[in-house]
Symmetry: C2
Subunit: 338 residues, 2 copies
DNA sequence: CTGTTAGCGCCTTCAC
DNA sequence: GTGAAGGCGCTAACAG
């Protein structure tokens, strides 16, 4: 068995209380006492049992982060920011994957929120509907990340997806493109990423006086690179090809670039391509990819700040925090002047 | 306060023991008892406190996974495999980042291994030397993943990096290339990824009767895409350009492709490019990237299997498990016939 | 088959 | 400033 606080106390010839005092540097501990205890700790190579401490204190210092898949670049990058910032706050992060499926999201939430393993949860929900989320009565604070919102039932941090999609589509319109395609998930409730971005797309077309051509709305099953390849192939098979395509995420756009290259279609001369998320990969595609860049570091910062406040006992009404996004223009699209 | 096992027992009018029996479906519980207890559990919406259970049982059902950075595609993909396979074994994974720095690796190991939060640890070490690793006397099982080995002090799962690098370099030689460059990290103890791969590179050149031209060894600071861009630019500035380049990981190769495109050098006609890791991204670069593909799913499977055996009490001598790798040839290189 | 009870290791209220 | 003792919620001896 490992060495316990009790052993340290015995070794130092003091009470458990004093050892605890030193460890958590409490109140007034005499320098002599402190030194003796620390010597004993070092000699015995003692380290507190966090399980026992957590059980006793009713808190663990760990927050859960539920995300769809950790191997998806956007989530990997977001997780990186969260882990980094959490450690600055003295928090550990327990990452778990849900596959973006509602039943797994629900199950993980249940287990996490009631098992006493984490003090709070960050949730990037894809499967659960806003309605389902709003009906949760979590025992511990939950902060929602991303597109999904739960009415005003839960704290939420995200960018304005409609505005962002509108901005980037507007940019395509302004650059003189008239047949602007879009790649988005098939229409079902499980596609919260695509819906607001499609809405922004439509709004921009409308305000630019362009009609939405249904043929130019390419539906995909998932937001993966291969889906972008397939969708691009379908768009290129149209009698009247598009002269621009807005992909609701970067992976689709990367797949699109790949297919465009295979078919020798020049980007951006013949088609402008833009993505969404600004994952690292965008800066090295051929050509480099124009995209919408949400401020991931800021998302992480705000989400952890708001969660920390809840953990500290805040009972303000849930807030919906909007994080800035930028248009990051690179070589896959041509500016209004070009 | 949350509802406790005790509350369930009271509600059902039975003892705590019986509730515990039902929850962990033990021995022989009468159907009547089972039903009563389950009814009470449902009514009270009870869920066990995992902290208390773990403290009592001396095990948590959680394994730690220490990796350099979760946003690096290779580690994201590996983590995905590990999380997935662990959940099939009923294990939760606690992922933590170390930045690949030895002191952080050491600190995280200490905390994790002694805090009683995890039963065992998977460690992708970059900073700690084999010597340092061999001197660890972890209180809980530690399985090493990747290039770093600890003599025969710890279990280890990985591919044969020297052989893999030799295979891929040999392939370049066989395809008729004679000025084969390599991109690898600068020579310091903190670069365990590059060392064996460089060794394989040299071995293949030697066996192919080619001399190692020091000018063709491009050193990089990190294994990131931008480092690949910079290194490629330096190689292209040489009086005699290389006709092939072996990058010790895919991200370098992706950066190289980007710079080659910028300078209008045709791949693979003028230069063959090969990477290492077979991250998803490789299948969509322009041109698609030839690479060495370690079997990540198998790495995850073996690592968890060996860790499970340790958790079950195995005290066999530490093993060094070799996982298969394949050469995955795509368009960035030209085969022996082409 | 089920009830009673003693800790797992720690923190913290209460006394001194 | 320090010591003694109880309990966080659970499981597993030990009876019965």
């Amino acid at each position: 068995m490992a060495v316990r606080l009790r052993d340290v106390a015995d070794r130092a010839g003091v009470s458990a209380r004093s050892v605890s005092n030193v460890i958590n540097d409490f109140h007034y501990v005499s320098p002599a006492m402190r030194e003796r205890v620390q010597a004993a700790i070092k000699e015995l190579d003692y380290q507190p049992n966090l399980l026992a401490r957590s059980l006793r204190q009713g808190r663990t210092g760990t927050v859960g982060f539920l995300l769809p898949e950790i191997n998806v670049p956007y989530f990997g990058e977001l997780a990186h920011q969260i882990v980094e910032q959490a450690s600055e706050l003295g928090l550990t992060v327990l990452i778990d994957e849900t596959g973006g499926e509602s039943h797994r999201e629900m199950a993980q939430l249940e287990v996490m929120s009631r098992s006493a393993l984490v003090d709070g949860i960050l949730l990037s929900a894809l499967g659960l509907s806003g309605h389902q989320l709003a009906q949760l009565r979590p025992r511990i604070p939950v902060v929602l990340l991303g597109e999904r919102v739960a009415g005003s039932a839960l704290d939420h941090v995200g960018i304005d997806n409609v505005a962002a999609a509108q901005d980037v589509t507007q940019y395509l319109v302004d650059s003189g493109r008239t047949r602007i395609a879009v790649m988005a998930e098939k229409h079902h409730p499980l596609a919260p990423t695509s819906r607001p971005r499609l809405k922004g797309y439509r709004a921009a077309l409308a305000s630019g006086g362009l009609a939405v051509d249904p043929q130019l709305v390419a539906r995909v099953d998932h937001l993966r690179r291969q889906d972008g390849v397939d969708a691009m192939a379908r768009l290129l098979a149209l009698p009247h090809r598009p002269d621009a395509v807005f992909c609701v995420n970067d992976l689709l756009a990367i797949g699109a670039l790949s297919e465009l290259h295979r078919q020798r279609v020049r980007v951006p001369e013949e088609i402008s391509v833009v993505g969404f998320d600004d994952v690292e990969e965008c800066r090295f595609t051929i050509p480099t990819l124009s995209t919408v860049a949400p401020d991931k570091a800021e998302i992480a910062r705000m989400a952890l700040r708001i969660l920390s406040e809840r953990l500290a006992g805040s009972s303000e009404p849930p807030r919906d925090l909007r994080v800035q996004h930028r248009l990051t223009l690179r070589d896959s699209s041509v500016g209004a002047g070009g």
